[in-house]
Symmetry: C2
Subunit: 235 residues, 2 copies
């Protein structure tokens, strides 16, 4: 019975960290005394401690207590004993490398599969998919595998960005990149726009937020899925 | 004595494939009868044959003959016998995976180190750096290593894009991504804007095109380097 909140982004333009998610964090963690924070993705190279402080500040606004994985001597035991986990955004390659290096990937997966609530933003949501292969991040380190938690039976593209029709830049659009992904892989990809999240509640996957999500399936024309749609049929 | 032409992009906005580079291709390959084309990056999932046809069409405008690696039974022998090589853009993870799978990476490196002219665009230029870790592409396949040709003693970021100050999107800017790269790696990164290229002539590295390049060195404020600057001091 999986329970997860997988958000495209931590922060909306002009808002504070986690601001738009506060009421949903409150609700999602309502039976939890303390959330364990995984700071490994280190956005912009921030320290684990600095990132934990930022996450704590956000969570306090939702009246939820939070402790960083960096505050424990044994990360494996910390995950084993965790009531709930929140993984912050940053660089997905770094996050995945550190999870494997510390032998936490399968442990975290087991805990989630047996009901432990999991929340992620950006890179933390990306690893909720089958693989991290639809990340937007630079490969700044070489992880031992691209396989991730598979909380949902598809891949996630966070910060999904529509093509800018006025752009003169010839770099690939997000849609082109995901199309390239589908020349080598078959799982669907959910393009989560900023302010959108997936709520997994006792295995039921629902799109939340105000915007539709863009769905990419192999050999199909991409299409839009409206908020509150169920995504369990995607696999 | 390395000789290379490493271009940020194959195509400028509103132009045809390779159009802006035709006079420079003519000059760079002036002593070459036939160029070997590596189509492995397959932009948008195009076939190897389709990509070779596109490259040939471009090269014919420069009066240079070209044959695709797909037209040879033995890719290793084709590289060994090549007079010159051109690697087209597309997905860098796919390109690097295929080069390793076909045992061509070190072979290509040896040929270039002993003077064989090498041209790349986009992903084909990215692999001219020390590693592919400043690519903008999605990790659609898992390569056995991120190490690349090291024609230049630094990393390249092709299609370098300046931050859009009006953007409300909270995904990382290119500059933020490269800053994250430098939390884990020490080599300099050259952000090559579209229409720019590096010309390596008997080991001398010069920035070409009309635009400055943006240079990122670890623990330094990024700075601009004007066209015709020498980049040999970057290492």
């Amino acid at each position: 019975m999986k329970n997860a909140l997988l958000a495209s982004t931590s922060t909306l333009h002009g808002q504070e960290y986690l601001e738009y998610l506060i009421p949903y964090i409150k609700d999602f963690f309502k039976d939890v005394k303390e959330v364990l924070f995984i700071p490994y993705a280190r956005p912009g190279g921030i320290s684990h401690q600095g990132y934990t402080e930022l996450a704590l500040e956000g969570f306090q606004k939702a009246n939820v207590n939070l402790k960083g994985l960096n505050e424990f001597n044994n990360p494996e035991k910390a995950i084993e004993n965790a009531e709930a986990v929140f993984t912050g955004g940053g660089n997905t390659f770094l996050l995945v490398s550190e999870l494997y290096r510390n032998k936490l990937m399968s442990l975290l997966q087991e805990k989630i599969n047996t009901g432990m609530p999991y929340m992620g933003t950006s890179a933390g949501s990306n690893i909720g998919g089958l693989t991290m292969q639809t990340t937007n991040d630079m490969p700044i380190v070489y992880p031992p595998s691209f396989k991730t938690l598979g909380i949902v039976p598809f891949n996630i593209n966070p910060h999904y960005l529509d093509p800018d029709k006025n752009s003169k830049h010839k770099g690939e659009t997000r849609e082109t990149r995901i199309k390239e992904f589908h020349t080598q892989n078959t799982q669907p990809v959910v393009g989560l726009r900023e302010g959108s999240w997936l709520l997994v509640s006792d295995n039921k996957i629902t799109l939340k937020g105000k915007l539709p999500a863009r769905i990419f399936e192999v050999e199909k024309v991409p299409y839009e899925l409206e908020p509150n749609s169920n995504l369990n049929q995607l696999y």
